[in-house]
Symmetry: C2
Subunit: 136 residues, 2 copies
DNA sequence: TATGCACCCTGTAGCAACTACAGGGTCAAG
DNA sequence: CTTGACCCTGTAGTTGCTACAGGGTGCATA
């Protein structure tokens, strides 16, 4: 299949597919006589793996490691689990941080009573960290 | 005060302070005879405002608008409230998205039972979106 | 046959918000 | 007089794409 078809099949931007090839995340496919990229099923499933992992928030480097693992079926699974577990912990940390931040923002927004900027509680709160109830 | 002192006073990297000046977020300060930047209290509180807003996740452009507002005390406060409210909504959306993602990751990680990569449930789940329970 | 249109190619530059040098100058203490 | 901490400018790197510019290919239609 040509790149546009692969793009539709995986929901990946064409430019992104070429980018993945450039950074070595996807192998360079064969070319047609007209120098068009020609993909097979192996490419499609590899790209799906990459997209899915990206959707789950894995970095390109993490995905590289995961792909290395899946390319070598005899290797130990522990490494994949370590990567995924570490990533899960990062996501949980991010959620916790954003939750604090949301609470702080909600408090700031809730204080606006209209009027002019000189009296604006939003601007005042942004200027002075001491108005905050939690660290962030 | 010199840039190092301002850096310590506000918890901002020196390079970041210079970067903010370059993009026009902070006004260029006076210089000493040795061409060192020399800051006053107004700079310090403006930078605190910026840092605090960045910590709360506002973009540089949002902060630019908020600073414009606070520089003009006669202007209406509604704009500040609009910016903050929109940002709060974005943070809430991000939390919701990360929460879905965390649940999916937790399910994937929980399936690892050791062994070799060929049998790895983590790698299998990443390759095939149909294993997922929710959209992400 | 011409021409329009969708599709493909390469290469480079842009985005956000910094961060990290390289290569130099300044200044006070010992 | 030298050591070390500090400061300066300018440029390039980071992450993960995305957006051109400027060109070639392939097929259907007038």
């Amino acid at each position: 299949m040509k790149i546009g078809e692969l793009s539709r099949a995986t929901g990946t931007n064409i430019e992104t597919i070429r980018y993945y090839e450039r950074i070595g995340l996807l192998p360079a496919p064969d070319r047609t006589a007209a120098n068009y990229r020609s993909y097979g099923d192996a490419h499609r499933s590899r790209l799906s793996f990459v997209r899915h992992s990206r959707d789950l928030g894995f970095t390109i480097e993490e995905i590289r490691s995961l792909l290395d693992l899946s390319d070598d079926p005899a290797r130990d699974c522990g490494e994949a689990d370590r990567i995924a577990t570490a990533h899960l912990e990062q996501v949980e940390a991010k959620i916790a941080q954003l939750t604090l931040l949301r609470d702080e923002l909600a408090r700031i927004v809730g204080r606006c009573r209209g009027g002019v900027a000189a009296d604006c509680r939003v601007i005042e709160a942004l200027g002075d960290h001491r108005h905050c109830e939690s660290a962030h």
